[in-house]
Symmetry: C2
Subunit: 407 residues, 2 copies
């Protein structure tokens, strides 16, 4: 148990590339954003290719979600294993999460939850959602009570994505670790398998980092062990797990996948999303700490309109004449990129892309389509969220059996 | 909150002296054992002098325990503050603990508990006892379930020292952290205030140590905050705390004392004990992992007799004639040293010392006195322990209000 983790995953995330991708920082020197092909190589994950998508559709009998077929979820680890598990009618579960660093979520935060909700509907499996308020307390200039309170506020937005309380357990670390000895025990088991050298290599921690940060990766790893939730899966369970997340979270789960076989658990499978660009362009991701970079879930229709018109980076030409003759560049146009995330209709998206590239569609017109796509999505979210009560949140966050039987 | 701890406590424990004293290792090159005067200087604690003992007796109206008047508890931090608190009829509490590394406790393990029991009787204050089964799991080649189980086995020996369940809460980390969010929250608060550099300096951790070890010192620190036990002291309490422990545990509490003022808590006060020597002599302490070095609480009267006669290092002379003329050396004689711990009668101890030093008392006779002192102590402990039921252990280990009112 005390042997060190192999150093195969000990990659310097920031070397050999101008892209910086880690749980605390995502930036690219290129206006097209992160080079995801290079990232797949660096991280050692696998591209989600058309064969895997076909197999997904064949096994589930359903057309895959637009976020999958358009390559927003573009990379994976062992997704084929999970599809086999499902094909054999064996159980698995979904695990995702969020670091509650601010009250206001932006539309980018919704992406993993929208996709996770779809996965849960397709596979009909339990879902656990970790709110890492302890992480935010450790990393940010926040009081513990503030970080904990943000968990509950963010939980309402997550619940508003339409999750079913009979199938979904949401937990805040600062609450749940004190409610479930099995969870803490798995954290300590993982902490016995990982050295400082390893977290230094994986996360770039240094000697002047506080010990809470150094210990934290085990807290994000532990929900990948089904026995961390004895009330759902049973105390001795080893139910496989699929983690949908943005690719910046992969370092946590590379570590997890290295450790858990030594504890006799399945390695968690992963599907990785690209980042949603900031309004200013793909070289940075949308960030809640820069309000001009993001469309928030609390924005009014007017705010959405103004932000898109004012800030959304355009791939169009400087003059109408030039645009008509040369056409726009969809690959850097933020409005077009956002439509890939939020406009479900494939044909419409394709035709918009063609029209914009040909110069037929002007930037102002493209922005209008985005505005009219986002406004109802956000209004509907706000309406659903307004109906979520504190009692609903308490229900989702109470450790309890879900409507699934294991064994 | 994120500013680093000052490095004033960042002492290399093993420098400038042949004595090694840290939580995992105690050895001395001298046959007289650890030089405690030097240790007090190195650790920056205070000698418990006759003035402080007089003040103790004056304030409590009681003669101090023989372990205190004979200098077994020899060093302190802020004991005078605790005496002032008591004098002002303000509340405080006691905190001590044990690392459950083996089933069998030896007589040395009893010392802090015997003294703590006496302190509790004198002051009539709540007591919390931490069983660091997570620490033992992290440091030893033990399964988590084994370490956790040792907690319960060791708790019986602790309870057999006569603690009152109305005034005493015993907890295993592997259980309690999963039962009390406030405890975990204090652990994380402490972990935010301590850097890897600091635990490196204080405990000698290195890059190849597992992150569980690096994080652990905060777990031993947290019970020094009364709010870790909301069911006893209330959620927002700041009740001062006195920690009786062997001096090898001081590094944990130097760290704690450095951190907790930043969290707006009182620094814990400490009283430090010397180590009980091994049967082979004072250069090592009694160890449960070397059965010939220790008198176990499970030893039969015959085993005690044999061990003392066979192994107890003698300060006597090679021949009876020489002994009669030169006398024995009490300062290195293990039997005499043990009598200082276990023979309550001061006059008898003094007269034995004089007789042995003069050569009047032979080593065999001295050993017989020790044997006859230890046998009833251990038999009585065994009798009390045999009556402790699993139900008793559960009661002591259930988080609950004690018979004290705060505020």
């Amino acid at each position: 148990m005390e042997a060190p983790v192999k150093d195969v995953d000990n990659l310097d995330l920031n070397s050999d590339s101008e892209d910086v991708v880690n749980p605390w920082n995502v930036t690219s020197a290129s206006e097209k954003g992160v080079d995801y092909d290079k990232l797949i190589k660096r991280f050692g994950s696998c591209r989600i290719d058309s064969d895997l998508i076909s197999r997904f559709e064949q096994i589930t009998g359903k057309k895959v979600h637009h976020l999958l077929r358009r390559g927003v979820f573009f990379s994976h680890r062992d997704l084929d294993f999970i599809l086999n598990v499902y094909e054999q009618k064996k159980p698995f579960y979904l695990y995702t999460g969020r670091g509650p660093s601010s009250e206001a979520l932006h539309v980018g935060h919704l992406i993993p939850f929208i996709f996770t909700k779809w996965l849960q509907d397709v596979f009909d499996v339990p879902l656990v959602i970790q709110l890492t308020d302890d992480e935010k307390f450790l990393w940010k200039d926040l009081k513990l009570e503030e970080a904990n309170n943000l968990s509950f506020i963010n939980a309402k937005d997550i619940i508003a994505c339409g999750f079913d309380p009979n199938k979904t357990f949401i937990f805040s670390n600062l609450n749940f670790i004190g409610q479930c000895p099995e969870f803490y025990r798995n954290i300590v088991r993982i902490q016995k398998c990982v050295t400082f050298n390893q977290v230094k290599g994986i996360f770039g921690f240094g000697d002047s980092d506080v010990i809470g940060k150094i210990a934290f990766p085990a807290v994000q790893a532990a929900p990948a062990l089904s026995s961390s939730f004895p009330f759902i899966f049973g105390q001795t369970s080893n139910v496989p797990c699929l983690i949908p997340c943005a690719i910046d979270q992969d370092p946590y789960f590379r570590m997890t996948r290295d450790v858990v076989p030594r504890l006799n658990y399945h390695k968690p499978a992963l599907v990785h999303a690209t980042f949603i660009p900031s309004l200013q362009g793909a070289s940075t991701k949308m960030s809640a700490s820069d309000s001009n970079s993001a469309i928030f879930l609390t924005d009014t229709p007017k705010q959405i309109k103004n932000k898109v018109n004012k800030h959304a980076f355009s791939g169009g030409q400087p003059t109408i004449e030039e645009h008509r003759s040369k056409g726009g560049d969809c690959s850097v146009d933020v409005s077009y990129q956002y439509l890939k995330f939020f406009l479900e209709d494939d044909e419409k998206l394709e035709s918009i892309g063609k029209q914009y590239a040909s110069g037929e569609l002007l930037t102002g017109e493209l922005k209008k389509i985005l505005i009219e796509t986002l406004q109802p999505i956000i209004s509907e979210h706000q309406m659903r969220r307004s109906k979520i009560t504190d009692e609903d949140v308490r229900l989702f966050m109470t450790p309890r059996a879900l409507n699934f039987k294991f064994n």
